[in-house]
Symmetry: C2
Subunit: 455 residues, 2 copies
């Protein structure tokens, strides 16, 4: 057992004890998975490809019906599988998730919805479960119809390979990757109501990353409006549906909805949590405060670990910057200020160069919707986990801290940027990335390939 | 005389006749200028530098008192010279503008304001005019105090070199450049109330370019919140002050406030127009509709020519894209949609690659604040001035237009992107640029140099 030291921020997670365990979505009891290659990207032109046959279709299956909570992109242009999941939210129960990479099934009109449903039907048939208990997700190119014969072959193939092994878990993780260079997975074990329970999760990201998700896909009036990121979490804890959704909404607010790679919100962002109850704990509800808090902390930990992995492995990313804004007039203003800084091309390029440039930061704060008074702003830098903040700016004026000392912090692969507006009590943070030549090179597009890349 | 074919958009400029004439701000009667090198960037370390001694200080002087209209950055963090100009707006009269590059005099607190005033005082003294008649502008590094001995030497030197020649005009234009690779200048001659009048203008831009200016520097409630760009326009037309400001506000709304290079709004954006009346026309007022419309058209032409030059010469820019959104529910929604597309990292990188990617465009529209219905959106491309629009998307679905044909348009240095949301009558356009590896390389920052680059 190790003590959880509030991973990033004291206000995010109540300390709780947990162990990290091997595997990911198949670590909790009753879950199995399989990831296969069915040639989705090449649209059925052959078996395998010159580039190798990275797995592109996965199943995650629970032996018992699981309660589901979900969060979905608030992009008005949303993919067919997202629409299907939002429909499934009424019912809120799952036995399986079918997910493909290489094709987002977004901007594919009615045919897209028919294809998403056909994925559910094929999975239900192969697993002998109800179609309504199958949830669907996709990521990859936008505007191209799925090669359904390949997809169906993939589903049939995956269904006979289901396993709860670490290998199976790794294959599922690989199957959802697109421009990701690394698999993103975690699993933990902790005590809940006297029982040992597990939570496992996987995700993918890389580009088109500034999620703004809600449980219905509808935009909250004041929500941040700004990848494809997909995240699937499984647990053998028994959690009442309302409690599961409340815990997920809160966890996403502090993790995936606080990351940005390039400021673009995707058409396909989806987070699903499946809780099958096989650990045998007394069902977690919001009124059982102690249990709920433990479960909430566990889910926050898992989503935050995964969210950070997305930024660290973002397209072309060379630096991970936690932008912390405090002293704003409100949370909304702190959030707006943090997003303005985290998405400013000039600030992001300065990070790429390891330059502790405060002029660009003040500039971005100044044009953000937040109230900013130049003569009150503090700007400082620290290494992650260090309490030593080096201030380059205090009350809007340069400090005597040596430029070289600032450069040493900003030269790190990860650092924290501390901004205090000194106007109020609003605070917010963003997990952000630099803007590099590699990002541009990767996304310039390959005009020899008429399919739009996105999702 | 050539007939003015409504430079870019039919709705912007009423057709009027004009001639292009040599020179820029010194082309109108009574205006003289000078641009000198006084070593502002190296902060007084020597005469000239290894990089050459690009002029860095200019005077633009009118022999008669001129009426002034101005537009200023709405960034809350605004530079000292901007604050001084906003103060001068009460008075609204000028005999001279003093402007430096290499130092933005931004985030320089009280010392900055004292320095800006000292620039006015030194200019007034050298020219034997009132301090209140001297307007000040700066561009360059943020957060560094001006090397005032150098600045004062520069002013004294420029004051004795004033001339109305094309050479003087070119030297003034050079003196305001920072990361610009080309001088940006234009002058025209036209008939106004039976008299021949001239309008001349210069500007600079390159980075930190998405101006959102207002006459008071205050943010309009619903304004686009998004260079340093500086623009100085002179005319020998007699124009009443209210009419001059009305014409400038309208001209900037259709030019500088519609451009974006990197989405960052500067601390120093300033546009000043000086009208000295020496052409002898009857004073233009808003109630003399015919004259006002001609003057308005002329000012729109000059500001639009200059604004386009800024985008074409933006940092690292390889493509100039006019994003035209129509069919939005309102102008505000059209504007928001156009800005979302024009500032999307993924859309901008696809332009860099010459890729007619519509998935990223739909994605950006979908997360913009504008109402968007996927199944209604048209996306097309045309070459500038061509009426032939090739649609890649109609009602949200790909058309049969060959990908190769679309690539041919998008491979051009300049093209128009046509988006129709088909929901209403709101229309707006943005003059936008691609995002290139050169932009990143240029802005990575030089950590061997402890001065922040900006302004």
């Amino acid at each position: 057992m190790r003590f959880y030291e509030t991973l990033i921020d004291n206000n995010i997670v109540k300390a709780f004890s947990f162990n990290t365990v091997p595997g990911s979505v198949t670590a909790p009891q009753g879950f199995a998975g399989a990831g296969v290659f069915c040639d989705i990207k090449r649209m059925g032109t052959g078996k395998g490809s010159a580039k190798g046959n990275k797995r592109d279709l996965a199943l995650i299956v629970s032996s018992a019906p699981a309660t589901v909570a979900g969060m979905f992109t608030t992009n008005q242009v949303c993919a067919a599988p997202v629409k299907l999941c939002i429909e499934r939210m009424k019912h809120g129960q799952a036995r399986a998730i079918v997910v493909n990479s290489g094709n987002a099934n977004a901007c594919t009109a009615e045919q897209g919805l028919r294809d998403a449903r056909a994925m559910a039907v094929a999975t239900a048939k192969a697993l002998k479960i109800s179609e309504d208990d199958v949830w669907v997700a996709s990521t990859g190119r936008i505007g191209v119809h799925l090669p359904m014969p390949n997809v169906k072959n993939g589903i049939a193939n995956a269904a006979v390979k289901l396993a709860a092994s670490e290998t199976a878990s790794a294959q599922v993780t690989e199957a959802i990757m697109t421009s990701d260079t690394k698999p993103k997975a975690v699993a933990i074990e902790f005590q809940l109501g006297g029982k040992t329970v597990r939570l496992g999760g996987i995700c993918k990201g890389a580009g088109m990353i500034q999620p703004g998700m809600s449980p219905t896909g509808a935009r909250p009036a004041s929500a941040p409006l700004h990848a494809t990121m997909l995240c699937f979490v499984t647990t053998d804890a028994a959690v009442e549906r309302g409690a599961l959704q409340a815990a997920l909404t809160e966890a996403v607010a502090h993790s995936f909805n606080r990351i940005t790679v390039d400021g673009d919100m995707s058409t396909n962002d989806t987070v699903l949590v499946l809780a099958n109850g096989l650990a045998g704990n007394a069902v977690v509800t919001r009124s059982k405060k102690a249990d709920f808090e433990v479960f909430q902390a566990a889910l926050k930990h898992v989503t935050l670990v995964l969210a950070r992995m997305i930024v660290l492995d973002g397209e072309g990313v060379s630096r991970f910057v936690t932008v912390r804004v405090n002293g704003a007039k409100s949370f909304a203003e702190a959030d707006a200020a943090a997003r303005a800084v985290a998405n400013s091309s000039l600030v992001k390029t300065s990070w790429c160069g390891g330059d502790p440039n405060w002029g660009r930061i003040l500039d971005a704060l100044g044009y953000s919707p937040a109230t900013v008074v130049e003569s009150k702003v503090d700007v400082g830098y620290s290494l992650p986990g260090s309490k030593k903040i080096l201030y380059s700016l205090k009350k809007g004026r340069p400090t005597s801290v040596a430029f070289k000392s600032l450069c040493e912090v900003v030269a790190a692969k990860e650092f924290d940027l501390h901004i205090n507006l000194n106007l109020g009590k609003g605070g917010a943070l963003m997990y952000a990335a630099d803007l590099t030549g590699e990002y541009v090179e990767f996304n310039k597009g390959d005009v020899s390939d008429p399919a739009s890349l996105g999702g």
